[in-house]
């Protein structure tokens, strides 16, 4: 629990602020039609029975649920931000299986219910920084991916983890367009995948994941750009060689394998120095590793992050 000790005083949420989070949420919710729709979800808060993990909690106010669920990049359901909320309403998340295979001694297929019971569910409040220079703060629910990976016993030669989304053009109309090479795939180095921050995620704001946010199971890697955090995962493959990800294929000069949040390395077409927090008017400076440098910078010591973007 090294990361616990690294927690700065300023990052610890005061009790009052933590309590006021709900007020903030409630006030935001009651304002407008969005609140009317989202209210039942909030009322059910805690239905996953997740315990807040105080070690993983940023103090920034959380982004209202309504924004989190209506502004999504999930190209399987269309390329506009509003598409997923509209196109994913009938998405079937049960039955759901996740195959874990590759360089492992005990390959396994997990049913969604197995996953929900695999480890204690925690609520963690992470920053999410999109490569498009906007950001949110989201209370996710899940457990470290390493809990799952340990179950399959990775072999010594396993160096990378490939994460693959569902391929189902009937349910995911966006896959009928070759915008990306479907199914969506992303990858991590094994040590990144095993890092305590890497969260296998099944819920947000106390409840199961809304379809548009990657239901029923996704990954969240808070120090990397959002596109690394694969949604609706059906396959996890441990490999010896670095997997080629969907975005690397789509734009090798623009999207690298690492995709660590880095204000010093611009996207070839736009600056990454600042970001607009959803709900804010003025942009704020982007933090190296999205503010998680204390915990993850050591993973990349000695690496040229300009080249390994």
């Amino acid at each position: 629990m090294r990361f616990n000790l690294n927690l700065k005083e300023c990052e610890v949420t005061s009790r009052a602020l933590w309590a006021s989070r709900r007020d903030f949420l409630r006030q935001t919710m009651t304002a407008g039609l969005g609140g009317w729709i989202a209210a039942p979800l909030v009322a059910k808060a805690g239905s996953l029975g997740a315990k807040p993990n105080p070690a993983f909690r940023v103090s920034d106010p959380t982004t209202p649920l309504e924004k989190v669920t209506t502004y999504n990049n999930f190209y399987e359901f269309g390329t506009s931000k509003e598409d997923p909320a509209q196109q994913a309403t009938d998405f079937k998340v049960r039955p759901w299986k996740v195959v874990v295979e590759g360089e492992v001694n005990k390959p396994q297929t997990f049913d969604l219910d197995d996953i929900l019971k695999l480890a204690p569910l925690e609520e963690r409040i992470y920053r999410l920084r999109c490569v498009e220079a906007w950001s949110m703060v989201i209370p996710w629910i899940g457990f470290p991916l390493k809990e799952l990976l340990n179950r399959v016993d990775p072999r010594g030669n396993a160096k990378f983890v490939e994460l693959i989304s569902l391929m189902d053009p009937d349910q995911m109309p966006g896959q009928k367009n070759a915008v990306l090479d479907w199914p969506y795939r992303e990858g991590l180095r094994l040590d990144e995948a095993m890092h305590p921050l890497t969260l296998l995620t099944v819920g947000l704001y106390g409840d199961v994941l809304p379809n548009q946010n990657g239901a029923p199971v996704r990954i969240v890697i808070p120090w990397k750009y959002g596109f690394k955090s694969v949604k609706s995962i059906v396959r996890i493959r441990l490999t010896e060689t670095m997997p080629v990800t969907s975005w690397m294929k789509a734009g090798p000069s623009e999207y690298g394998f690492y995709a660590n949040v880095n204000p010093a390395v611009d996207h070839p077409r736009w600056s990454q120095a600042k970001e607009r927090r959803i709900g804010d008017f003025l942009k704020r400076p982007t933090l190296p590793f999205n503010g998680y440098a204390d915990q993850v910078a050591s993973l990349y010591s000695g690496m040229d992050l300009t080249k390994n973007f």
């Binding site: 304002a31 407008g32 309504e66 924004k67 209506t70 502004y71 190209y75 390329t79 931000k81 509003e82 498009e132 906007w134 367009n177 915008v179 990306l180 789509a250 734009g251 077409r269 736009w270 600056s271 120095a273 600042k274 607009r276 959803i278 709900g279 008017f281 003025l282 942009k283």
Partner: protein, 227 residues
């Protein structure tokens, strides 16, 4: 329009055709009012949705994209007027060209102001960096700069002062502005180029028809009329 570009060749009195068709003129005025009102709808919708807080989670992005979209749309419609007039023979649509072009300018000004105030909030160093370093902003900003003298010289007075030939020469820059605008959009989208492609097609067709009309007209120079 023909009359406005006259080099003193045409007498400055209403033509026989115009005198005979007061009704047609009234229809033109009616159409102009209709286009004017319709052209303000996108801005009105933005203002209304802004007031109702209905611009989504990222209102700044929405305003930027929307004003950009309508700038390009009005630019394309404007560029379509002349080819459409040539192909269909509907000479009257030329009477709407200036207003449509000015609405393209109106929306590009809103687009630029949104970038300046809402997106950058007068962060001049960063704006200069954007313009010099980001190709899509460089071309977009160039297109905006091109449109400024065109809007300024759009009045009857300026047409007279410049003279038809010079005025037309200056206003041919709108082709470059249209091209730069489409490139600006093409280069900024992350992956889905559907919308930029549609604008690219609209632009290309308008230009191809222009070239074809010019080639067809060349054998009989007497038919070349200013437009």
């Amino acid at each position: 329009m023909t009359q406005r570009f006259g080099h003193g060749m045409e007498p400055n009195i209403p033509s026989a055709r115009q005198r005979q068709q007061p009704k047609a003129n009234r229809a033109i005025v009616g159409f102009k009012i209709l286009i004017f009102v319709l052209a303000l709808v996108p801005m009105t919708r933005l203002l209304m949705n802004g007031y109702l807080d209905a611009l989504g989670a990222n209102p700044v992005e929405k305003i930027l994209h929307n004003t950009g979209f309508w700038t390009l749309s009005f630019l394309m419609i404007t560029l379509w007027v002349t080819p459409l007039r040539s192909v269909t023979g509907w000479t009257f649509i030329g009477r709407f060209r200036r207003m449509l072009g000015l609405f393209a300018f109106f929306y590009v000004v809103l687009h630029f102001l949104s970038y300046l105030v809402l997106d950058q909030f007068f962060d001049w160093p960063n704006i200069l960096k954007d313009i010099s370093k980001r190709p899509y902003i460089t071309v977009g900003f160039s297109a905006f700069l091109i449109l400024i003298p065109l809007a300024v010289t759009s009045t009857d007075g300026m047409m007279r002062r410049l003279g038809g030939k010079r005025w037309r020469g200056l206003h041919r820059w709108v082709y470059l502005a249209g091209f730069a605008g489409v490139v600006h959009f093409w280069w900024l989208v992350k992956k889905d180029i559907t919308e930029p492609s549609l604008f690219a097609i609209a632009f290309s067709v308008a230009m191809i028809v222009r070239v074809l009309m010019k080639v067809r007209k060349r054998p009989s120079p007497s038919l070349i009329i200013p437009h």
